[in-house]
């Protein structure tokens, strides 16, 4: 009603200008609305309630010259609940005999397979044949190891462990992504797959010629860590 009245009172010129202005406004608004993208974070009420006063994982830290809060652990330190290995980089004779006393049940082998597909499959392929998506699409110059190949079928597991921990040729170190137990789970998965494809007999299964864990502290620590983690997660 009022709208009609409003228009009634205007002459043609004003209508023209209204049309122009509203056109401009719509176009203007539409162009501002580029998917609501914003480059600035905006304001906050209470910075001291929003930003941690204590140094948090990603905050910069004036106490160190490189201002990183997340520090590298001191050489040789063992995080609580984690395992340690005594391998030294470059000691290739030690690699060959290095192994683990851990044995894995079916669930852990499945977990090893899942981890393999996340961290290794992108290069080595989910069929373990070196034809991962990155090589198959031609992004990689050199072919990642084909675990079904004779060269790797009988490779000592310690040598493979060293490749994960320190990297080899074009492969980088995966120590920052996989902890010690996860590395062995992945290796157990590979060795199981290889033994089904002509490799050596699989010895990391629980029913294999399993030796009881010798370093009981590590085993205890793992068991403890597992239950502790679960508790923590639930508690929160």
């Amino acid at each position: 009603m009022t709208f009609e009245f409003l228009l009634f009172t205007l002459n043609m010129n004003k209508i023209k200008s209204i049309v122009v202005v509203s056109l401009g406004l719509t176009l203007g608004l539409a162009s501002c609305d580029s998917g609501n993208m914003r480059r600035t974070p905006g304001h906050i009420y209470a910075p001291d309630m929003t930003y941690s006063v204590a140094y948090d994982a990603y905050t910069s830290n004036p106490n160190f010259s490189d201002s990183l809060t997340s520090r590298k652990p001191v050489e040789g330190a063992i995080a609580r609940g984690h395992l340690y290995d005594h391998l030294k980089e470059g000691d290739t004779t030690a690699y060959k005999t290095y192994t683990t006393s851990m044995r894995f049940n079916a669930d852990e082998l499945k977990e090893g397979g899942r981890l393999f597909n996340i961290y290794c499959g992108i290069c080595h392929g989910s069929n373990l044949d070196g034809q991962g998506p990155l090589f198959a699409s031609g992004k990689f110059a050199s072919m990642p190891a084909n675990f079904k190949d004779a060269k790797y079928l009988h490779m000592p597991v310690g040598q493979m462990y060293a490749a994960i921990k320190y990297g080899k040729n074009m492969m980088g170190s995966y120590a920052s992504q996989l902890d010690v137990k996860q590395r062995w789970m992945v290796l157990a998965y590979i060795k199981k797959y290889q033994s089904a494809n002509g490799g050596d007999a699989f010895t990391f299964g629980e029913s294999g010629k399993a030796t009881p864990v010798v370093v009981d502290t590590t085993k205890g620590a793992v068991a403890m860590a597992d239950s502790k983690d679960k508790k923590d997660e639930k508690k929160k």
Binding site: P133, S137, S173, K236
Partner: protein, 426 residues
């Protein structure tokens, strides 16, 4: 056949014949290759690429650089005998590739080696993979918005014109009939107009202020400029890299973790250029073109990698001279809220995309969810926990009983206490 078409026909048939011959020839020369391909893949591909330098040099046409054919056989069978004998070509190559010893292959016959070299000489790069077209849909829906607003506007203009025509006609009719036209009251003096405008303004301002106040401190759609143009679409989308490959902490800790440069270098020791530019060109949200290869060179600067030497720059103590990339943090929960990734990703089995949106479609990451308290609580009310699979929940006997009796189909996170204040604020 019309006279004018004859020359054309001749050309066509001739070129078809030539094409056929070429095809035959190709087949012929390729018939030696399959054997070479298999040998190359199983023995050499781990260090060599036909076209690019890898651990060893690119092998396509390398046999043209040999002193003679015999020399190539000797090199592959045992390169170190040539190096030890001081052969200049061999020594130069050995030094150029950082004195890496090439595996000797005494088991390969001369024919095998010739087959391998024939295969690499005839090698052609595979056709570039077609990029998935996910982004197009979003653009499509934008277009729809435009069409609707233009349509509305035209209708509006039309209505105004019609109405205007109508009223001038009425005025004209009035003056013809001698009926006096009503006196016009200026709009700004009309009480009705003033009252209505005031009420509308009041409501709008109230809505705007309350909404603005609620959203103060929230950062939905925040998409900062990063120090390096790193595209999730290229990595997690087109090249199918799993989120956990880089954000390994999401299953283990509160933080999902931003990867450090050593993780990038797992792949980028080899991938030193962005070759996907034709199938998928990189652009910032403002539409500025980005050169992916330059960005990878920038990554090398941060990582302390020398792309010419193909090794890290190290200080006197042997430490890699890398500097961390200072990414701008996008998601920021206030410090008075506790959020844990492992709890949601590992225990709750919630997909990253439910909270972070289509990350694998984004070049630059933006904050998809509001991260408001209502958002957390809503999901806790609607989402069922992994009740049966989790031993920890065995103590909730009542729920288990009800599940068994068929009284309920699942247990939501809210029923586990996921809406209690101290679970998130403490």
């Amino acid at each position: 056949m019309p006279e004018s078409l004859k020359p054309l026909f001749r050309i066509c048939s001739r070129s078809a014949f030539a094409f056929f011959i070429v095809l035959l020839l190709c087949n012929f020369s390729a018939s030696a290759a399959p054997d070479g391909k298999a040998l190359f893949m199983s023995n050499c591909a781990s260090c060599h690429n036909p076209l690019k330098d890898a651990t060893g040099p690119a092998l396509k046409d390398i046999d043209k650089t040999f002193p003679d054919k015999e020399w190539g056989h000797k090199w592959v069978k045992n390169s170190q005998t040539l190096v030890a004998a001081g052969d200049p070509t061999a020594v130069a190559m050995f030094n150029k590739f950082g004195k890496v010893v090439m595996t000797p292959f005494p088991q390969l016959s001369n024919e095998d080696i010739d087959a391998i070299l024939a295969y690499v000489d005839a090698y052609a790069p595979p056709a570039a993979a077609q990029a998935p077209r996910g982004g197009e849909e979003a653009a499509g829906s934008n277009d729809n918005g435009w069409i609707y607003s233009i349509l509305t506007l035209t209708l509006l203009v039309l209505a105004v014109i019609l109405w205007r025509a109508n009223s001038s006609l009425r005025r004209a009719a009035n003056s013809v009939e001698g009926v006096p036209n009503e006196k016009e009251i200026p709009v700004y003096r009309s009480k009705l107009v003033i009252a209505v405008t005031a009420i509308v303004l009041f409501i709008l301002a109230g809505y705007w202020i309350v909404n603005g106040a609620i959203n103060e401190g929230r950062q939905q759609n925040y998409q900062p400029l990063q120090p390096l143009f790193y595209s999730h679409k290229v990595h997690a989308g087109i090249n199918q890299v799993n989120c956990l490959y880089c954000h390994a902490g999401a299953e283990k800790s509160r933080q999902a973790m931003i990867p450090s440069t050593n993780v990038c270098m797992n792949c980028h020791k080899q991938i030193n250029s962005y070759t996907g530019a034709e199938s998928y060109a990189l652009k910032t949200a403002e539409g500025k073109e980005i050169n992916g290869t330059e960005q990878i060179q920038l990554l090398y600067k941060y990582a302390g990698w020398d792309p010419v030497k193909k090794d890290y720059n190290r200080d006197a103590k042997g430490n890699i001279m890398a500097t961390p990339i200072q990414w701008v943090k996008i998601h920021n929960l206030p410090d008075h809220v506790y959020f844990n990734h492992a709890q949601h990703v590992k225990v709750g089995k919630v997909q990253c995309q439910r909270c972070h949106g289509p990350i694998q479609e984004m070049d630059e990451v933006y904050q998809f969810a509001p991260l408001s308290m209502g958002w957390c609580i809503n999901c806790h009310r609607q989402t069922e926990v992994q009740f049966g699979a989790n031993n920890y929940y065995s103590i909730f006997e009542k729920y288990h009983q009800e599940l068994k009796e068929g009284k309920r189909t699942g247990v939501t996170e809210a029923e586990m206490g996921g809406t209690e204040c101290q679970k998130c604020h403490y």
